[in-house]
């Protein structure tokens, strides 16, 4: 595969052609916040946290879907970008009821941590405080819409890895909601295999193991790499990291 050279924050960097900008940045230790991206799933480009500036392009581009091409000049942490990331997190926190203190993911949550990392320590917008249900009908898992940020990792993992497509989004705009089958209680879903992949990939406490109490839920994304390596490269290495 061809090697291309790009300039990232004034430094020359080489990358494989066709690699996404996000993976190049991560290889070089440049951390960008992401919420909808997850290695192993298709890209969505929806959370807009990984937006970067590209010279000659007057629009900000999401690193997760932008391919690395020869001569690209990229800036990842300009004042404007840092400010926008903070504002986007403010918007996400204002949208639903993200009450970290009483969330199963408290302390392990990607949303919580991204906010801390970019320094989003208060939300200037009005909290929308929608009234949203909690679906605890499944025997093993729970779905709390109050914590959902509509990243659709669950939709994608269920469709692309498990092949069940239990989840999808209904409605649109701020009224979008995760649904199982025909908007039925999760426990009544006939397509759900109870595999739990959606729970593991969920960045927040929206999907959790039943019985988890505040701050007890931890998630493992490792299985995804393991499955994909197995499928794509026929390598089924069972290491310690994957056995927990």
């Amino acid at each position: 595969m061809a090697v291309v050279t790009l300039t990232i924050n004034d430094e020359l960097v080489s990358a494989q052609e066709g690699q996404t900008l996000l993976s190049v940045l991560r290889e070089h230790g440049i951390q960008l916040p992401t919420l909808c991206h997850l290695d192993g799933l298709s890209e969505r480009g929806g959370c807009r946290l990984c937006l970067v500036e590209i010279a000659g392009n007057n629009k900000l581009q999401p690193a997760c879907v932008t391919p690395a091409v020869e001569g690209l000049v990229v800036r990842t942490h300009s004042d404007r970008l840092v400010k926008y990331r903070k504002m986007i997190l403010e918007l996400l926190f204002s949208e639903r009821n993200h009450v970290c203190a009483v969330c199963v993911m408290n302390g392990n949550c990607e949303l919580q941590w991204e906010a801390a990392k970019v320094g989003m320590d208060h939300v200037r917008y009005d909290y929308l405080n929608p009234s949203l249900p909690v679906d605890a009908s499944h025997e093993r898992f729970t779905l709390d819409h109050n914590r959902c940020i509509l990243c659709t990792r669950c939709v994608r993992v269920c469709d692309e890895i498990e092949g069940a497509h239990v989840w999808d989004l209904m409605g649109r705009g701020a009224n979008s909601m995760m649904i199982a089958d025909l908007n039925r209680p999760w426990g009544e879903s006939q397509s759900c295999t109870s595999c739990g992949k959606c729970v593991q990939v969920c960045p927040t406490g929206a999907l959790a193991q039943r019985g988890s109490s505040v701050a007890e839920m931890e998630k493992q994304h490792d299985f995804l790499r393991w499955i994909l390596d197995g499928r794509e490269k026929n390598v089924w290495e069972y290491t310690d990291a994957k056995s927990n």
């Binding site: 969505r44 209904m170 649109r172 025909l182």
Partner: protein
């Protein structure tokens, strides 16, 4: 981008022989079957099939969505997601009569919002809903493309131009009393019939 631009249907569509007919034997399902056949059961015909289903049944009840999903071999949540994304599809039965108030820019500038509040107050129903007795569905539209006649209402399919809140109230009351249609009743705005499409 896999989900959205995946060019290949995930399951090989069956051919025109089609799937099992609906067990109820309701003849309206034949209309749906016809559309399904016209599109050779291709999954990308989902919206067209839902259009036909809604025309035939008036709204999309769960049973209907399940039928469509099975015929097209699509996941249920996919079908439900599409049906709820578009404003045109209704998952609840509509009232006997309908009144749509255009809230396009021209109508808004001509104070259509006052008509909406007047009707909401009078009939005790929020726009987008049907009265408890199932008599009247009150809806707003984003623009009916009749901006020259603002503000515009559509009552049971008839376009009514240049309304004041008082006139609109009177018209809806008349409608509910079963008064005759306005003389300008137009065939033009009735929905495309399923057979013609």
């Amino acid at each position: 981008m896999g989900v959205l631009t995946d060019p290949k249907p995930r399951v090989k569509p069956r051919n025109a022989a089609g799937g099992q007919a609906h067990p109820s034997g309701d003849p309206r399902f034949k209309l749906i079957d016809r559309t399904l056949k016209r599109f050779s059961y291709q999954q990308d015909a989902l919206i067209e099939v839902l259009h036909t289903a809604q025309e035939a049944f008036g709204f999309l009840e769960d049973d209907l969505l399940v039928y469509v999903a099975h015929q097209l071999k699509l996941p249920l949540s996919w079908v439900y997601g599409v049906a709820t994304f578009y404003h045109f599809f209704s998952l609840a039965p509509q009232g006997e009569h309908s009144c749509i108030i255009c809230m396009g820019t021209a109508c808004y500038v001509k104070r259509a919002a006052e008509i909406v509040s007047a009707l909401q107050a009078e009939f005790g129903v929020e726009a987008g809903n049907t009265t408890a007795d199932g008599k009247l569905s009150l809806n707003t539209a984003r623009c009916l493309g009749s901006c020259g006649l603002a503000p515009v209402l559509v009552m049971d399919g008839d376009v009514v131009a240049r309304q004041t809140p008082e006139e609109a109230l009177a018209r809806v009351r008349e409608l509910l009393l079963g008064a005759a249609r306005t003389p300008e009743a137009m065939s033009e705005l009735t929905p495309l019939s399923a057979t013609e499409a």
